[in-house]
């Protein structure tokens, strides 16, 4: 008895210790999950309102059935016990009863299916969109191209902006932890937005729960979905199809703004993209390339090769690596073509590739002093054709 009591006390102590993290105060994420949220995200579209309604409809019916069925079972457990003297009856079949409890659930299920049908049909109707945006899933970020409607021509990559220090528990986590990006998708309120999804490598999935939207992004294929946001605000989602090691680190952020703000954003974004468009004939100094390269490295390479260049596990260290310190041709090839688990980075611009290659050759203990210009990559790509 004493042993059992002591074991119980130790267990309670352990439980208290383990439960202590629950006292940390986190606040709700704006446009994302609330702390200890119990239900779906608040609806921003009619479709999501329908989904909310359907869910409550199902929950209520299931709860009623649950209470009735387990009420009967509980009654039986209490009243039909041998210990209180109840003797067993001998009935063991009844065709009437079987028919009744087949027909009634069938009718209930049909009743559930009717409202759901309406919503399914509505969710699939992507016609007459005001703006069409293509979402491309990459390992591990999203690319967006505005291909029709106001904003046509805008395209950018959208990468997780949560610093690795937060993920590695070296810094406090913000309340938009893991659901914040550098470039958000911006759309006008009350306009039908058609989202075309595809992917570059493996299957990803694009979703914003507040909109009631989720669509797989399948490499080599094009799928679509749509939403019409009725509230201004920022809304968030996370990649929803296992796509490799950074699956948890490629969120979706959509900012819904007024028509006027949208037009302002469109012109500002177009100017920004024009300025950023790298002219591959420009030449840069070592310092300029290292600076730019540091940013490219942080956004793309550090997840596998680590910020300190030391790699780990299957991912080689770049600090002191023979490809990085060897002939330039070797590193052009590995960046443009990939190797084994390393994807190819041909989608980066020549300037970005030149910058990151310069960065790796002049960082940590690598001190080659070499400068790679964007034109080197133009040539390398041409040589590969």
């Amino acid at each position: 008895m004493k042993l059992q009591r002591n074991v119980l006390l130790y267990f309670v102590g352990l439980l208290t210790l383990l439960l202590s993290p629950l006292s940390f105060a986190y606040t709700d994420m704006p446009g994302g999950p609330a702390v200890r949220q119990l239900n779906f995200a608040a609806p921003v579209t009619k479709i999501m309102e329908d989904i909310h309604w359907l869910h409550w409809f199902m929950m209520i019916i299931c709860t009623v059935i649950f209470v009735v069925v387990f009420g009967v079972m509980l009654y039986s457990i209490i009243k039909h016990r041998k210990s209180s003297g109840h003797k067993p009856a001998s009935f063991h079949e009844s065709t009437t009863v079987e028919i009744i409890w087949t027909i009634i659930p069938l009718l209930i299920v049909i009743g559930m299916a009717l409202p759901a049908t309406k919503t399914v049909v509505a969710m699939k109707d992507t016609t007459n969109a005001d703006i069409t945006i293509k979402a491309i899933g990459y390992q591990w970020k999203w690319g967006y191209e505005y291909i029709k409607g106001e904003g046509e021509g805008i395209n950018f990559l959208s990468t997780l902006s949560t610093p690795r220090e937060q993920i590695n528990n070296l810094e406090e986590k913000s309340n938009t932890y893991l659901m914040e990006v550098d470039n958000e998708v911006v759309v006008p309120v009350n306009k039908k937005i058609r989202v075309i999804t595809t992917a570059d490598d493996v299957i990803h999935a694009w979703t914003v729960q507040g909109f009631g939207v989720k669509q797989d992004a399948i490499p080599g294929f094009v799928r679509d979905t749509w939403f019409k946001a009725e509230k201004i605000g920022t809304y968030r989602g996370q990649c929803s199809e296992l796509c490799g090691k950074e699956h948890a680190f490629m969120p979706i952020v959509v900012k819904v703004v007024s028509d006027a703000d949208y037009s302002t954003w469109v012109s500002a974004k177009k100017k920004e993209l024009a300025a950023l468009a790298d002219d591959p004939s420009k030449t840069y100094t070592l310092e300029e390339l290292k600076d730019r390269g540091a940013k490219v490295y942080a956004a793309n390479c550090s997840v596998c090769h680590q910020p300190n260049g030391k790699g780990g596990g299957a991912f080689p260290a770049l600090d002191g690596d023979k490809v990085v310190l060897g002939p330039k041709e070797g590193q052009y090839q590995i960046l443009l073509k990939g190797k084994n688990a390393m994807p190819n980075w041909a989608r980066l611009s020549d300037t970005e590739l030149a910058a990151v290659m310069t960065f790796t050759r002049n960082s940590w203990s690598n001190k080659t002093g070499e400068v790679i210009q964007p034109s080197d990559f133009v040539n390398a790509r041409a040589a590969n054709k």
Binding site: L19, P21, L22, G32, A34, Q37, L38, N39, F40, A41, L54, M58, C62, F66, V69, F70, V72, M73, S76, I77, H80, R81, K82, H86, P88, A89, F91, H92, E93, V97, E98, W101, M112, A116, T117, V120, V121, K124, I167, K173, N175, L178, V202, I203, A205, Q209, D216, I218, P219, G220, Q238, C239, S240, E241, G244, K245, H247, A248, A314, A341
Partner: protein, 532 residues
């Protein structure tokens, strides 16, 4: 093992020395006795339960708090993948085969399975496959991290661990197919005279139907993973658009296997519960023929619902609607079964020994899982919860609180027959209540996480999900410790001794297995009994 002593007694009066009972390692390596083979399957399954369970605990350890504390994300995904594969193919399926081997011949009055040597081969493939599967962790790049569903093209990207997994699954599939052939032939051909199909115990019925499902779908899985193998190494493009293929085709082929697979994992559980409840209600199973028809309907329907796992892949409206309707339809025969069990209890004379606790617990928690399944079946709702923790909650409710709890019911129910000793009632109750409490603590919060949008297969999550994740991790620890308690305080002691069991170990038990001594002698029903 206690069966040795009794078997020696029967052996004395045995003239035919061809039936001499083997001893030592040869007894097990060359086993053709259904009781020995069944026991080996159960031991194999238990080992895998703990291996898969350890992986689950590592997963929940990492997920205890937001941020990456212990595991790199690529290893985390190896764990989620292998946890699923080991539990499905290494724990649940072999355990049910173990129950089939142990009980079907006894329940139909047969001396053994129809193909005793093939039975041996079916079992011994499994440890080899298990070693391949588990050994894939040591391959360069580690085990496959593509999820237990192994979707292409991600699975095509994986390292050699994926190939080891493919071969392991091929082996296990072959084992299942051979086992199923054995079960079907045994049930159809070796029933005692007078034991018509409609008099057969429900456990045998559910296994008969499950065996047909296995034969139908295991080859389909083999096809899917072979195509992944050739895409990986032999230049095919089944699932690569650049070569004219389609990643979604993998999903269709996989889930055509996958959906019947989950019914394969639950039908024998239904069978066990249908044995336990009548015994402890002291009343025949209500609606026996309806139960047979309901089980058959579930099996047939299971072939036409597979794309409800694919509602977000972009199928046309007609597809979404058809699969939604067909899936919702399965709720009807499943409901019929639940009602029949409760009708069996109704006006019975109930006692609540451990097997009955597990069976009632099963009905309660499995039905909850059934409700969340119905909710997932609604395509619009599924768009919101596909690939979130809501799905994880749903399938753990039906697989753990369903299949595993039913297996515990079967263990406590039949262990007197296997060992000759009753399991300790108090300890059985401790095992039951702690499992129930910690199971719900672990998986109930996951419904909230899923509704709030937390995706599955995530090594890290937004901080707002922290509290429910912490509760789930604590529950998981408790649940794991409860199973360790089961092994150390129930299973091992019961094999060593305890209260002696009668031939009819439970007052209300009916069936041929209760007409032979406890423990069952090595050879039973060498002369078939006649059933009136």
């Amino acid at each position: 093992m206690t069966t040795i002593t009794t078997a020696h007694d029967t052996h004395q009066g045995h003239d035919d020395h061809a039936h001499a009972m083997p001893h030592g390692w040869r007894r097990w390596l060359f086993a053709t006795n259904h009781k020995d083979i069944g026991t080996m399957y159960l031991i194999f399954a238990l080992v895998n339960l703990f291996a898969g369970g350890t992986m689950a605990l590592l997963i929940r350890l990492e997920l205890f708090q937001p941020g990456l504390q212990f595991l790199r994300p690529e290893f985390f995904n190896q764990l989620t993948t292998m946890h699923g594969l080991i539990m499905v193919f290494g724990a649940i399926m072999p355990a049910f085969v173990g129950f089939a081997n142990l009980m079907i011949p006894l329940q139909i009055g047969a001396s053994d399975m129809a193909f005793a040597r093939m039975n041996n081969f079916s079992f011994w493939i499994m440890p080899v496959a298990g070693l391949l599967l588990f050994g894939s962790f040591l391959a360069p790049g580690g085990a496959t991290a593509a999820g237990w569903t192994l979707y292409a093209p991600l699975s095509v990207q994986m390292g050699p661990g994926m190939d080891m997994t493919i071969f392991a699954i091929h082996l296990m599939g072959a084992s299942s197919i051979m086992g199923s052939i054995n079960i079907i032939v045994t049930i159809l051909n070796m029933r005692a005279p007078g034991l018509s199909l409609m008099k057969m115990p429900m456990f045998c019925w559910t296994w008969l139907i499950t065996a047909y499902l296995l034969i139908a779908v295991m080859p389909v899985l083999a096809g899917a993973i072979t195509m992944v193998l050739t895409d990986r190494h032999f230049g095919t493009s089944f699932f690569a658009a650049a070569g004219g293929g389609d990643p979604v085709m993998y999903q269709h082929i996989f889930w055509f296997f996958g959906h019947p697979e989950v019914y394969i994992m639950i039908l024998p559980a239904f069978g066990i519960v249908s044995e336990v409840i009548p015994t402890f209600a002291r009343k025949k199973l209500f609606g026996y023929s309806s139960m047979v028809y309901a089980t058959s309907s579930i099996a047939i329907l299971s072939f036409i619902v597979w794309a409800h796992h694919m509602f977000s892949t972009g199928m046309p409206v007609t597809g979404q609607l058809f699969f939604m309707y067909a899936t919702m339809l399965i709720a009807v025969p499943t409901g019929v079964k639940v009602f029949n069990w409760i009708a069996t209890m109704w006006k019975g004379s109930l006692t609540f020994e451990t097997p009955m606790l597990w069976a009632i617990g099963f009905i309660f928690v499995f039905t909850l899982g059934g409700f969340t399944g119905l909710i997932c079946a609604m395509a619009p709702i599924d768009i919101g919860i596909q690939d979130t923790y809501y799905v994880v909650a749903h399938f753990h409710y039906v697989l753990v609180a369903g299949s595993l709890f039913a297996m515990f019911a079967g263990f406590y129910y039949w262990v007197p027959k296997w060992t000759g000793y009753m399991a300790n009632e108090t300890r059985g109750k401790i095992h039951f209540w702690s499992s129930m409490i910690f199971f719900n603590l672990t998986f109930f919060p996951m419904h909230f996480l899923g509704l709030a949008g937390m995706p599955r297969r995530y090594a890290d999550y937004p901080v707002q999900f922290a509290d429910f994740n912490a509760v789930a991790s604590i529950g998981a620890l408790g649940f794991g410790l409860s199973q360790l308690y089961f092994l150390l305080a129930v299973v091992l002691p019961t094999y060593r001794g305890g209260k002696k069991a009668e031939a009819q170990s439970w007052e209300g038990a009916e069936g041929l297995e209760w007409t032979i001594p406890s423990p069952a002698p090595f050879h039973t029903f060498e002369t078939p009994p006649t059933i009136k």
